[in-house]
């Protein structure tokens, strides 16, 4: 696929923007339509677009981690946030909330962190599938 230089440059600059947008969707999910799943897809789409204009090696470099590892990390984040309550003697996944409101993030609690885990997993999954298929040719 031959993309014009303009497109390729545009995508290069869009990448961080889209990532920020995806995080925005992730964070607002608790209150407005959005959430980790859709956010993750947006982020994955950003990398996917990037991979159409650049070689896979470059995309991997930009990503820095293996998509496979992202899956693991995402699941780990999710399960850790869910397990926190166990240490407080509460049932698994009980939402724990930090009492202060943080800048940007707003109210932070384990359900939100769990959603971040979802986000990471979705990025990892999507990229792993796409990368594998592209490598397959």
């Amino acid at each position: 696929m031959q993309f014009s230089v303009i497109l390729s440059t545009a995508i290069r600059y869009m990448l961080p923007l889209m990532l920020i947008f995806s995080i925005f969707i992730l964070l607002r999910g608790h209150h407005e339509p959005g959430g980790g799943f859709i956010g993750g897809l947006v982020a994955a789409a950003a990398f996917a677009l990037y991979s159409f204009t650049n070689s896979l090696t470059e995309v991997r470099q930009a990503l820095r981690v293996e998509p496979r590892t992202l899956i693991g990390v995402g699941l780990l984040v999710a399960v850790s946030s869910a397990s926190l309550s166990l240490f407080k003697g509460l049932p698994f996944m009980t939402g724990l909330w930090y009492s202060e409101t943080l800048p940007v993030l707003g109210k932070i609690g384990t359900p939100v962190i769990f959603d971040m885990g979802v986000y990471i997993v979705v990025v990892g999954v999507t990229l792993l599938i796409i990368f594998s298929l592209i490598e397959e040719g």
Binding site: E32, P33, V125, L133
Partner: protein
């Protein structure tokens, strides 16, 4: 609207079943896709339809006020869609690989694991 959708769902199921009964492995995948759509739409309809009141609590209120769309079926479908996607992605690739090994789209060429060796 529920009545109309009931028939749409039925049509989707019929089409899905018909597609998976073909001998083509590609049609199988398309059929499974149709069935997935049908199932999601069905749960959505079963949860009853409410027009244009998403289950989001306004910033002034403490709770949802009727009328609002039932959020639970939505959450269930969302989960089901995502799971369905994952499973289908795998199934698609499986079909592709199977095609590569037997080199045909014809299911009738894929009977060896069921049959006795001569």
């Amino acid at each position: 609207m529920e009545v109309i959708l009931a028939f749409v769902i039925g049509a989707l199921y019929t089409a899905g079943f018909y597609m998976i009964l073909r001998r083509s492995i590609v049609k199988l995948i398309l059929g499974l896709g149709l069935l997935g759509h049908a199932a999601n739409l069905m749960i959505f309809t079963i949860g009853r339809l409410t027009r244009a009141s998403p289950p989001i609590i306004g910033h002034e209120g403490e709770a949802l006020h009727a009328p609002f769309a039932d959020p639970l079926p939505q959450a269930l479908i969302l989960t089901a869609i995502v799971i369905g996607f994952g499973v289908q992605a795998f199934a698609i690739v499986l079909v592709k690989r199977a095609y590569q090994t037997v080199n045909t789209d014809d299911f009738d060429q894929m009977r060896s694991t069921d049959l006795q060796e001569a």
